[in-house]
Structures are given as C-alpha cells and as structure tokens.
C-alpha cells in the first residue's frame, strides 16, 4: 500500500513535470524559439567542431530569424 502510494505520487509528479516542460516548450515555440537544450545536444553530437552559442546568443539569432520569412502568423 505504502509503495503503491509512493508510486502514484512519483508518477503524478513526473507527469506534472513533463506537462509543464511541454507547455513551456509550446509557448516558446509559438514565439519562434525552439528548444535550446535540444539544439546544444544536436551540436555536440553532429557538429562537435562548432562553438556552442550561449542561450542569449541563441535567443537573439532566433528572434531575428522569426521575422524574416513569409507567413508565420494568420489573419
């Protein structure tokens, strides 16, 4: 019984955490800012020769990129 309750609490906390992370990711993506951690991991894995930008640099680059192309928003 004790373990069951612990399991339940644990999965509840885990679920809430993932839910919150997803919500933050959605909110950022809706403003044109993709996941920074994922990008860093991608760079480390596939392009180890490139320098990893700081979050500030990454954010500025994405901010500029959002308002360059067509579309992105609707009437």
């Amino acid at each position: 019984m004790q373990t069951f309750r612990q399991d339940l609490l644990h999965s509840l906390r885990h679920g809430l955490q993932t839910g919150w992370q997803r919500a933050v990711q959605t909110a950022r993506l809706s403003c044109g800012v993709p996941d920074y951690d994922l990008y860093v991991r991608h760079l480390r894995e596939h392009h180890p020769e490139r320098t990893v930008p700081s979050y500030k640099e990454f954010f500025r680059e994405r901010q500029l990129a959002r308002y360059k192309g067509t579309g992105g928003r609707c009437c």
């Binding site: 997803r22 933050v24 990711q25 959605t26 909110a27 950022r28 993506l29 809706s30 403003c31 800012v33 993709p34 996941d35 994922l38 990008y39 991991r41 991608h42 760079l43 979050y55 500030k56 990454f58 954010f59 500025r60 994405r62 901010q63 500029l64 990129a65 959002r66 308002y67 360059k68 192309g69 067509t70 579309g71 992105g72 928003r73 609707c74 009437c75």
Partner: protein, 690 residues
C-alpha cells in the same frame, strides 16, 4: 501499402453510434426549433459532435486512403534535423504551435458579421465547411509538404504546376496580404473611434512593449514567459487606468480621435514599427499577443460553458435575401465569403507548408495537427458566433450598421432598427454604451466591438461587479487591437521583404535588406499599399468594413481554392484518381463562390461599379448624394469604388488563370500511366532513428 482503415471493436462502434445520435439530435434542435430561443449549449454540443465524427472518420479516411500517410516513413524533421528549423517535436507541442500560428482575428470577425443572417446559416457553413473543406485543405497541404522536405506552398506550386503558376500565386499572396492588413487595421480604427478608454489602453501597449523589449535584451535575455507575465500585469493596469482617463475631463479629450486621425496614426505606427529593430517593439508585442490570444480563447470558452447564454438572434433572419444592413449580398455566395477563417482559410496553407511540417516527428501525427488544428479554429468561430448571437439583436444591428442607414443618435438608430423588425429603445442603446464605458455603440462595425460587448456580457454574468462590464469590454478590445497591430507590424515587414525581392529584379542594390535606402523605400511602398485601403475604409461614409471585408473574403477563399487545386492535381499525379473529389469538390465550390461573389461585385445592383456610376451620375447632374457631403467626397467614392472593382477583377483573373494551369496539369497527369508527383524518395524511419 497500408491503406485500410483499422477495424473497430464492438464497444467502439457503440460509442461512435452514440456520438452520432447525440450530434444529430443537437443539430436537429439547432436547425429545426422555431419560435422559442434556444440555449447556446445545443450549438456547442452539435459542433463538438460534428468535429469528433469528422476527425475520426473523414480525417482518418483522408489519412489512410487519400494521402496514405505512413508512420514508418521518415519525416523532414527526422531526415534534416538541424536543431533549429527542422526538429522532431512532441505532437502536442506541434499542435499547440500550429494552432497558435493559424488562430487569429479572422475567425472572430467573420462570424460576427455573418450573424446578420441569423445564427443557423453561419453555423452550418462553419461545421460542414471545416469538415469537408477547411480541415481538408490544411491537412492535405501539410501532408504534401511533409513528403517534399517541408517545402512552401509557392515552391510546391512551382514543382507540380510549373514556374508561371508559382509566380502568379505568390503575387496573389502579396495582394491578399495588403488587403488583410488594411481590413484588420480598419477593425482597430472602428473599435477606437471616439473611445478615449480604448485608445489610451492600446496606446499604452507601445511603452509596455518597449520596456519588455529592453528587459529581454539587456536585463534577462530570453526570459519570454517572465517578461510576458510582467507585460500582462502592466496591460491589465492600463485597462484599469483607462477608466480614470475616460472619467477625466482634461485627459479624455487627449485620447479622443476620429476615424481619419486614427487611420493616419496606424499608418505612421506601421511604418516605424517595421523599420525599428525587431527586438525592441515587434517581438515583445508578438509574445504578449500570442499568450493573450490563447488565454482569451480559453476565457471565451469558459464564459460560454459557464454562462450558457440564450441565443437572442433568430435562427434565420430575412436578410438572407441580400438586404442586410451589415453587408450587402445574398446568402449565396456572400455567406461563404464573409466567413472565411473558421470554415476554410487560404492563409493556413502557408502555415501548413511553413514551420509545422519541419517539426512533425511522424507522418501518423499529421492528422491531429493539420485536421485537428483547423477543427479547433472552427470551434473558435462557433464561439464568436454564439457571443454575437447572444446579444440583443437591436444592439447587434445598432453596432454593425453604417451611420448612413441608422443616423448618429440613439433615437434615429432605435427608430431605423425597429423598422427593420428588431424592436429596440433608445434607452437600451444608451444604457449599453454606458455599461461598457463608451459614449456611443453606434456603427462600430468590424466584429471586434460586437464580440467585446458579447464577451463582456457573458463574463459579467459569471463575475458580476460594478464597472466590471466596462473592464471586460476594454479587455476584449485591447486583446484584439494588440493582436491585430502585431499582425500589421509583422505583415508590413514581410511585405517589405517581398517588395524588395521584386524590386531587386530591376535594380540589384534595392534587394539588400540591410541597406537603408532599399529598406525605407520598400517599407513606404508597402505601408502606402495597405494604408490606401485603410484610409479609404476609414473615411468611407458607408462604413468601410462592408466594402473591404468582401474583398478580403474573396482573396482569402481564392488562396484556399489555389491550395485545394494543388491538392487535387497532386492526387491525380499520384494516380489516386478515385479520390479526386476529396480536394476537388471543395476546390470547385470555392471557385464558384469567389467567381460569383466577384461577378456580383463587378456588375449588378450591389457592385462597386454600380456605386461608382451612381455617384458619377450624381456629379454629372450637379446633385449631392447622401451620405457624401461635398463634390470632393463624391469624387472620392467614385475613385475608390473603381479601385475596388479593378482589384476584384484582378482576383477573378488570378483564379481563372490558376484554374487553367491546374486543368492542364490535371489532364496531363490523368493521361499518364504512372505517378508523376514530385515526392521525395522514401526513407524508412527505422533506418535513421536513434
């Protein structure tokens, strides 16, 4: 290939049969009950049943049979993963992002205008339009782009139809964008005319955005959520302070403007906002408006569910015959032009072939994002229709009829509207204005104010309190204005890049987006293009919205027709001719609607040409025709109507040209004995994953 729809368990069959019966019953109540007003919950339940059934059955049919989406096939996000633009992303996150990108002011404005025909015609068109046209377009374009490296609509048109159709369609997009910017800016002008409270709060968004931009740039870089919360608190404070401005005899006149001055301010604002660095003004407003938009939609849904209002507008009014005061034109084709976004919106094809296909991790998730996302937008449109229909019809018509018809006083308006058959007293109109903290509610066409009054009444029903109604009204106005002004900034910037691209063809240095000459020149051209139509709408004695909105609807449905024609051609190119009706029937329907509406706007009693000729004849006879007050005003009405007529003609030519190109490609593909679509080669997900 896996084309069969998976078999269903008996329990599942019973569940879906139950949903179908409930849906049919609710729809029956909505459509058939006459004489007594019905509750909005019937409409909500009918809509939800239609949506889940459409999603489960028609959406699935398109997924398995028409597009043949394959969960084992690698998507562009997986194949070209660069961590920035192409990133395999959780499907709920993609859904949220896609919905935030497609949901705008459009589905909130169109249904409000269409409510003049009663709630039933608009409801039926939204429900069946979205299931068989709108969601089909979004989903199919997304599916096609997924198979083509996430390429844009323009690129796909070029690949599948040829280079000329690609250019023609992109030119259409530019013109459509100018009309969108003008009509949306006009919605803001109509909402803020002689409204010190509204103007003050909307003006406050500029310093708030500058503050947020600086905070994000220097103090806490990249903390979007944090800064948006600060911005939200400041915005709510500015609404609260707006009341003090409205009550003050010295401050109120400083924020009291007529339509003409507001139009000039917006034009100037659009110019500066789009040449300033994005981080300073545009980006922070964008964050605020994105979150506020989602929050407000949720608030509206909550209000409708909790307040469960009764629909006061009749199911069908006599104005289906084309004599309505809000916009002229019969049910066919003008209902289908007026409600564009919410039922089917061409603009979505640009987003469905923009960032979304570069994020989907699996083809099996495309239906949820493409088809499901559009169903959500249709639900927003239904809610807007409910908010407008739950108003007293007299108040609704007073707010949406031009002053040329109802005059400028509550007495003249009450008399005119009562004669239309919707009895209302001058006191009711004056009291409504007083409740929401405005001097007048008359002739505030454009959807936003009507929706704001509807929302304010719903929210006030849940959270009563002194002067709360005025607060909610100005909250709703602020939300729409903030959202629209962000679209105006961003749209001007995009338009500027497009114009620089075109100008670069003639004189290379103009293309350099960092050059101040090219930059300023293109911005001036872009702002003048939409500014012309905005100004014309603002000074139009007939209201402006009723001329510009049909132009916008025609242009938006034209783009949807082009996207659906592309889907039709590709379906045949893939040798799936027996499914050609899936995108083909809605494409033909939209072509018929746009061409009929275009033709009625070119010749006939409600046409731009007829209006121009009437005033030209008046000038010739030396008579002054109301509502014009001088010969110069008459001359302006003549010119504007001829410009609108020419634009309508241009849209019709564009549609006809695209029909020709599509038919040619269709015939060639039909004759060919093998698939000729330009799909990227198949790569198994299993071979790249991990």
């Amino acid at each position: 290939m896996n084309t069969a729809v998976p078999a269903q368990s008996p329990a599942g069959k019973i569940l879906w049969a139950a949903i179908a019966i409930v849906g049919a019953f609710c729809l029956g109540v909505v459509a058939l009950r006459r004489g007594e007003p019905i509750n909005a919950i019937w409409l909500v339940a009918a809509a939800l049943s239609v949506f889940v059934i459409g999603y489960r059955f028609y959406g699935k049919f398109i997924e398995h049979s028409v597009l043949q989406m394959n969960p084992a096939r690698a998507t562009p996000a997986v194949l070209r993963n660069d961590g920035l633009d192409y990133v395999p992303t959780d499907k709920w996150v993609v859904f949220g992002h896609h919905f935030a990108a497609i949901a705008g002011a459009g589905p909130l404005v169109g249904p409000v205008l269409a409510a003049q025909m009663g709630y039933l015609p608009g409801t039926l068109w939204i429900l069946f339009g979205v299931v068989f046209a709108g969601a089909v377009q979004d989903f199919m374009i997304l599916g096609l782009s997924l198979r083509r490296d996430g390429r844009s609509l323009g690129n796909m048109l070029r690949d599948e139809l040829g280079p000329v159709p690609g250019v023609v369609a992109m030119f259409g997009v530019l013109v459509l964008m100018m009309i969108v910017l003008a009509v949306l800016a006009l919605v803001v002008v109509k909402a803020l005319t002689h409204s010190p409270w509204g103007t003050f709060t909307v003006a406050c968004t500029i310093p708030i955005a500058l503050l947020m931009g600086s905070y994000l740039r220097w103090f806490r870089p990249g903390r979007i959520l944090e800064v948006s919360l600060i911005g939200l608190v400041l915005l709510l404070t500015s609404i609260w302070m707006g009341k003090a401005v409205y009550d003050s005899a010295t401050l109120a006149p400083l924020f009291d403007f007529d339509a003409k001055s507001l139009a000039w301010m917006l034009i100037g604002y659009g110019f500066f906002a789009s040449v300033l660095p994005v981080w300073l003004l545009l980006a922070p407003r964008d964050y605020l408006s994105t979150f506020l938009k989602i929050g407000t939609i949720a608030l509206l849904a909550l209000a409708i569910f909790l307040a469960a209002p009764t629909l006061q507008m009749p199911a069908v009014t006599k104005f289906i015959d084309g004599t309505g005061p809000v916009f002229p034109g019969k049910l066919f084709p003008f209902l289908f032009i007026t409600i564009a976004c919410g039922a089917v919106s061409g603009w979505h094809s640009i987003i469905a072939s923009g960032t979304t296909p570069k994020l989907l991790a699996n083809e099996g998730e495309a239906r949820m994002v493409g088809y499901g996302g559009m169903l959500m937008e249709a639900f927003v449109a239904i809610m807007a229709l409910i908010a407008a229909s739950s108003l007293h019809p007299g108040v609704y018509f007073a707010m949406n009829s031009p002053s040329a018809l109802i005059g400028n006083t509550v007495q003249s308006a009450a008399t005119a509207i009562s004669q239309l058959g919707f009895v209302v007293t001058p006191e009711q109109l004056a009291q409504t204005a007083k409740n929401i903290g405005e001097s007048s509610i008359l002739s505030r066409a454009g959807g936003a104010p009507t929706l704001a009054v509807g929302m304010a009444q719903l929210l006030h029903g849940i959270l009563p309190g002194k002067s709360m109604m005025a607060f909610w009204y100005h909250y709703a106005i602020l939300f729409e204005a903030l959202f629209i002004l962000t679209t105006v900034d961003a749209g001007t910037r995009v338009g500027r890049f497009m114009i620089q691209e075109i100008a670069g063809l003639f004189h290379k240095p103009l293309r350099e987006t960092r050059s101040w000459t090219g930059n300023l020149l293109a911005t001036v051209i872009c702002v003048s293009l939409w500014g012309y139509f905005l100004y014309q709408g603002a000074v139009d004695p007939l209201g402006g919205i009723n001329t510009l909105w049909p132009l916008f609807g025609i242009a938006n449905q034209m783009l949807a027709a082009i996207a659906l024609m592309l889907a039709t051609v590709v379906t045949v190119k893939m040798k799936r001719e027996r499914y050609v009706w899936v995108p083909g029937v809605p494409a033909v329907w939209l072509i018929v609607c746009t061409l009929t509406a275009g033709w009625e706007k070119l010749s006939g009693s409600i046409s731009f040409t007829a209006a121009a000729q009437k005033y030209a004849q008046g000038m010739h006879d030396g008579k002054l025709l109301a509502p014009a007050k001088s010969v110069a005003e008459m001359q302006r009405i003549v010119t504007n109507n001829y410009v609108d007529a020419a634009l309508t003609g241009l849209f019709m030519l564009l549609v006809l040209a695209m029909v020709g190109f599509s038919l040619r490609a269709l015939l060639n593909a039909w004759r060919s004995n093998r698939p000729t679509a330009h799909e990227e080669p198949y790569v198994a997900l299993a071979s790249v994953a991990g």
